[in-house]
């Protein structure tokens, strides 16, 4: 059996994408090691899709000037503040922001994972301005059973998804080790999955992990062993987020010059 374990460099080099999805929610499980590798390789991201609440992972890709469009419902640092690079790029128009809501991302990924072309949304969601601001992703159609107007969102099918898990075996079966967020769903919707993990473990060690917390190896293209690979964000089951380091980032990234100064320090340190 061929092992799926690869270096971050190999895993990224072997990935082709128009749409890239990155996992993690807020300050947790941002797959930073692989994201730093994307930056090192200066990989252009024509379209970045995030979990319902992205943070450092998205901000770093945007700050590095690699992202043309982001489809998201939130990029920020929760109680620590706004996302400086996201904010700057959105305000100066260099980043196209395609607004989605949490329901649209979740049900859109469900549709993508299920072969559904689109997902209807619950009545009421159309009262927000989100869908009108993103005509590519939404359509108002007629429910064929009731004739009621129904908002639908296009399925999300990332070409590549990068998520973080606590452990995986060489065959790619991974265990998330904490909250699953939308990361399992993202893995199921993506054509290729890169799982970065704290530890590569034996196949036996993966057995009988709880059913809802694993990703079967047949969905996984590459396993990247990256201990500490979420830092400075948290890795559920392993370590919390590094608040001083994140505050330092928020301070530095206020300007593009500051971000450019922060970035090589971190990527070199991560190597």
């Amino acid at each position: 059996m061929k092992s799926k374990v690869a270096s971050a460099q190999e895993a990224v080099e072997e990935s082709e994408f128009e749409t890239l999805a990155i996992g993690g929610m807020h300050l947790h499980n941002n797959p930073m090691a692989t994201i730093f590798e994307l930056v090192r390789q200066e990989r252009r991201v024509p379209r970045l899709v995030t979990s319902p609440s992205a943070a450092l992972g998205a901000d770093v890709l945007i700050g590095s000037g690699l992202v043309d469009e982001i489809a998201t419902s939130y990029v920020g640092f929760e109680h620590l503040g706004l996302a400086p690079c996201f904010r700057r790029a959105a305000e100066n128009g260099s980043l196209k922001v395609s607004n989605l809501c949490e329901a649209s991302i979740t049900h859109g990924l469900y549709a993508g994972a299920s072969g559904m072309p689109f997902a209807p949304l619950p009545a009421g969601v159309e009262l927000a301005d989100v869908w009108r601001s993103n005509p590519n992703a939404y359509r108002m159609i007629v429910d064929p059973f009731t004739e009621a107007k129904t908002l639908v969102v296009k399925a999300i099918r990332p070409d590549v998804a990068i998520i973080h898990a606590a452990e995986a075996d060489e065959q790619g079966t991974a265990w998330l080790g904490g909250a699953v967020f939308t990361d399992r769903l993202m893995a199921m919707a993506a054509r290729r999955v890169i799982v970065q993990v704290e530890r590569v473990v034996s196949r036996e060690a993966m057995e009988r992990r709880p059913a809802g917390a694993t990703i079967p190896g047949f969905l996984v293209g590459a396993v990247v062993e990256a201990p500490g690979g979420c830092r400075p964000t948290a890795s559920h089951g392993n370590y919390g987020y590094d608040e001083p380091a994140i505050k330092h980032y928020l301070q530095m990234a206020r300007t593009s010059e500051g971000f450019a100064e922060w970035m090589p320090l971190v990527t070199v340190a991560a190597q």
């Binding site: 807020h26 319902p52 609440s53 998201t72 929760e78 305000e91 809501c101």
Partner: protein, 238 residues
Amino acid sequence: MTTWTAPELMAVELSRHIADGDVAVMGAVSALPMAACRLAQLTHAPGSWFVAGGSGAVNPHLGPTPPSSCDERLLDADCVLPLPDVVMLEGRGDVFDVFFAGGLQIDAFGNTNLERIGSAEHTRLKGPGGVGLPFLPLAGRVIIYTASHDARTFVEKVDFVSGPAASITGRGPVLIVTPLCTMDFDPDTKRARLRTLHPGVTETEVREATGFALGISSELRETEPPSDEQLALLREIA
């Protein structure tokens, strides 16, 4: 005399609006409503429930309350739902009695905005985005809280509707809690009105900090201070 901080008073006031049997849900930056829900469970609403944001934790035991809504410590809870299940149930419209909401802007009708200040063409401040706020029309009741009571936050009309005040299954916004006061909504005009003033705060102070014409409840009174028991419990939780 017992003293308390503004966030403590806010948490206690929020907790008073959780009834026994309620099921509440909250999103990002939710330490305050989490603590409020837990306090309600420990006092007058032992049979209430709350789901803590992106963690999916149902009735996290708290103590301490982590500042992040996705913190691993929240998983010490009665049970945990995978996040997609929480999103599913938010759409059902008959599960969650209370949604806690916030915003960069909150308008006179209780619409909230986390998207941007300014127009799409001339955005003065790009916000993070509204996450699950479009679900608000499906909540039983919407309770809005904010740490910023100023005229930039409280505006006549939001620049973008992330969280609609309109409701299709419930009552929509029923309460706003700020560091200065609480507001409810006039049943006729649907506009926010001053309901209680926090101890030591004047009506003039609130008006100056509010960017829309604020009505006044005929039952305007002082916000009830936290009891010693509430404060003691809250300090264990928070």
